[in-house]
């Protein structure tokens, strides 16, 4: 890829191909334009029609996701999703990937990922109150992985800590499939009054178009098309496009924009994300059904001799585009001056339905907006539907590793060990509203300032399930997010998603994608948990090798009374009760992988009716006040969930025998879904209530002491458990 382009080259099909447009797509450009496009025009088409901006491979499938509910104010289509959370307030949230940049330059890639998603949220008028991140890395043994993990974690912390938005949760997995394609998905949640939400549709012929924030440089030119391309051995050459984040400027931009939003100066506003000035201006004018004229001479520039092509495609960070009411320029400029940010009127809204770009007296681009979006390519790519694997014969599985030894190994494994090394670099407390920080509860709990309410926030996905059975995996990811919110006592409201997949031109990858969507849609429908925003990241392949399908889910819920939110930490003298039935499902379990050394079988089936019934029961019990602590059962199974509760509360427990009819391994390590562990002062009422509700429940044991003890008399100390749990990151990173 030849960027930046210094001297204009003849525009032809060959150049179009270099820009990522195929012959057919270039043909459409010619048809729309009725002539050969200029270099700048070709640049605009190529980024608008890139996978990243146009969703050309995924759009037909994304439509299957449910997006509506009474509490959804704005679903997909805006910069972020908006849900009503009561008290006249809304939560505005979205997740976005920065996978490719984070592989090339882990620190800056992750940092600018956080910056980008923050802008998507505050551009709608919300003050960001929480960040989360979903991360997937290659094998720890791969020497490159350590550098990537270190850089990504520092980058997320470096940006989030500086802007003063607490990073309150996330998830991390390791797998060889991510060796050449780590995933960095960042999520931001903000709060705005329901009647003060800002949208991006431009309006008002003659209204000024204003550029604010940082100056434009040659950063990230063709970032959007890069995000839509596979890596190969020459990827290093794409490096000059790396963008550097400036969280300080972002912080000023947040404050300045929110200050401006308190006035009535703004007609429409949008951040300059991927494809910068191009996508923001095209989308704002396009959505408003108007035209737009840009005068690039007025664009604040960091470098000399920038061309129109470069300015239109630059992905310099920390910039916003605003359509102002007529006459609001002075008031607006004063606010940005106060915050020492650039402010420039760079154009105006027209009634032509065209984007017109001028630079140094030259007409650089003149494109009709409607065909640019309406005739954007849309592919129903060939699909090869995945065949779900046969379930394992669980009964045939045996092991000589004793249960307590298996627990110690599992809890020390990279996918289950303590993530404290990571979250101890993220400021989770800033803002003074964080009720449950990372590790304290299944979902982070962040209170809303001035209200008794709190949000419950989580990210979830189990890629190994998705790999084995994408449909079930997609369903499970949504169900787990719903369950994690439920386990705190909060009411799940909606999700954002980040669909990370391989090359969509391969039928089997499209099959994974479509099946995952179908599974997600089924779960969203059954759980009243609509999708309000999201992001698609395709072509996560290096030299033909793809990642595990990873539909990361960011879930949001609300709890009316923040002090009622439950964590996972147990205290002494409590009964431990398991909610939900256990068949002992070991297919695709971590026990199978870590102890038996096999990645096999079908993932645990998700029964959405049971999910809903069990979750509603648990939430009801928490609201009724009898539940001291609650944790869902997920990766690693029941015993891992119990051990995590013990570690969080620094309290041991004594367990009863496993029931008959299920193997010991299956009972303690099976990953059957729709299950929770509750700790309550006296299990009697809880068990009775479960019986009445038709929910399977079982008394597991009682808390106390500083050991984990099994009925047979075997025990391990909390100290030993903690050492095992905390060993991995400390040893790896020292």
């Amino acid at each position: 890829m030849s960027a930046p382009v210094a001297a204009p080259r003849p525009v032809d099909e060959k150049l179009a191909r270099e820009f990522g447009l195929n012959a057919e797509e270039y043909g459409r450009v010619l048809a729309i334009m009725g002539r050969t496009p200029s270099l700048t025009e070709l640049g605009i088409f190529s980024v608008m029609w890139s996978e990243h901006c146009s969703y050309k491979s995924s759009r037909v499938w994304l439509k299957e996701l449910p997006t509506k509910a009474d509490w959804v104010v704005h679903g997909p289509g805006e910069n972020a999703g908006v849900v009503d959370i009561g008290d006249g307030l809304t939560a505005i949230f979205k997740m976005e990937s920065h996978n490719h940049p984070s592989f090339i330059e882990p620190y800056q890639g992750a940092a600018t990922g956080v910056g980008g998603i923050l802008r998507d949220v505050f551009t709608m008028g919300a003050r960001p109150i929480a960040n989360l991140n979903a991360l997937r890395f290659g094998r720890p043994e791969n020497p490159r992985t350590k550098r990537v993990v270190d850089g990504v974690v520092r980058g997320i912390g470096g940006y989030g800590n500086c802007v003063g938005v607490p990073t309150v949760g996330g998830e991390v997995n390791f797998h060889a499939a991510y060796d050449g394609n780590p995933l960095v998905n960042a999520m931001t949640v903000g709060i705005a009054p329901r009647d003060r939400i800002f949208l991006s549709a431009a309006a008002g012929i003659g209204n000024p178009v204003v550029y604010v924030g940082s100056k434009t440089g040659r950063d990230g030119i063709h970032g959007a098309t890069m995000a839509s391309a596979e890596f190969d051995a020459n990827s290093e050459e794409k490096r000059p496009t790396v963008q550097v984040g400036d969280p300080f400027t972002e912080k000023l931009l947040i404050e300045a924009c929110l200050e401006l939003m308190a006035t009535d100066a703004i007609v429409a506003i949008q951040d300059m994300g991927a494809a910068g000035l191009t996508s923001s201006s095209v989308e704002m004018a396009g959505k408003g059904g108007v035209g737009i004229v840009l005068d690039l001479d007025a664009v604040p520039q960091r470098e000399t001799a920038m061309t129109a092509y470069e300015m239109m495609l630059s992905e310099s960070q920390e910039r916003m585009l605003i359509v102002l009411r007529p006459g609001a320029e002075d008031l607006s400029r004063a606010i940005f001056d106060k915050w020492d940010l650039d402010f420039a009127v760079i154009g105006h809204i027209t009634d032509t339905g065209r984007i017109v770009v001028r630079h140094k007296g030259v007409l650089e681009a003149d494109i009709p907006l409607q065909p640019l979006s309406d005739e954007a390519p849309l592919y129903r790519r060939p699909i090869e539907w995945p065949t779900p694997p046969a379930p394992l014969d669980d009964a045939a599985i045996t092991s000589d590793v004793p249960v307590e030894q298996a627990l110690l190994r599992l809890i020390a494994s990279p996918d289950l060990c303590s993530r404290a090394w990571i979250w101890n670099q993220y400021d989770a407390a800033v803002g003074g509203q964080t009720v449950k920080r990372p590790g304290a509860a299944d979902a982070a709990i962040v209170k809303i300032d001035g209200s008794r309410r709190a949000l419950a926030l989580t990210t979830d996905c189990t890629p190994r399930y998705c790999q084995a059975d994408p449909r079930m995996g997609g369903m499970q990811a949504v169900a787990e997010a719903w369950r994690n919110i439920t386990a705190t006592g909060a009411r799940p409201l909606a999700i954002t998603d980040n669909m990370n997949f391989g090359n969509p031109e391969k039928p089997e990858i499209m099959g994974q994608f479509a099946a995952a969507i179908q599974g997600m849609a089924a779960a969203c429908n059954a759980l009243d948990f609509p999708v309000v925003s999201g992001n698609v990241s395709l072509y996560n392949e290096t030299e033909g090798r793809g990642i595990l399908p990873t539909p990361a889910i960011g879930g949001l819920g609300v709890i009316e009374e923040a002090s009622q939110a439950r964590g996972i930490a147990i205290a002494p003298h409590l009964d431990l009760v398991l909610i939900g039935a256990t068949e002992g499902w070991l297919g695709q379990s971590l026990w199978l992988r870590e102890i038996a050394g096999r990645e096999q079988g079908a993932p645990p089936p998700v029964n959405l009716v049971a999910e809903r019934r069990h979750g509603d029961f648990v939430r009801h019990q928490i609201a009724a006040g009898g539940v001291h602590a609650c944790h869902d059962v997920s990766d690693g199974g029941l015993l891992v969930a119990l051990a995590e509760m013990a570690l969080a509360g620094n309290t041991g427990f004594a367990l009863n025998d496993a029931p008959d009819g299920v193997s010991d391994i299956g009972f303690w390590f099976g990953e059957d879904q729709a299950r929770y562990v509750l700790a309550a002062a006296d299990a009697t009422d809880l068990l009775a209530a479960a019986r009445r509700a038709g929910v399977a429940a079982r008394l597991l044991g009682r808390t106390g002491g500083n050991e984990l003890t099994w009925a047979g008399g075997v025990s391990i100390s909390l100290k030993e458990l903690r050492e095992a749990h905390e060993r991995f990151f400390a040893a790896w990173m020292s």
Binding site: P240, V242, V244, F248, R302
Partner: protein, 79 residues
Amino acid sequence: MKAIVTVMLKPGVLDPQGRAIGHALETLGFEGVGEVRAGKIIELELAETDTARARAAAEAMAAKLLANTVIESYRVEVV
């Protein structure tokens, strides 16, 4: 010998630190300050006594660790 490795952001790469310093100098009343770039300097005591070999070693260290060549360039001086 002593090797001095200077690491600067490549031209064109945003240098928020340099910009902030320039802005602060202006606020403090210093006039005529144009572009400001901020970088790192690493001074290494080397056991090596041959200048050429010391330089080669420092170059290797810079390329491998001291500079992030994705966004930074470096120069080596041996004294």
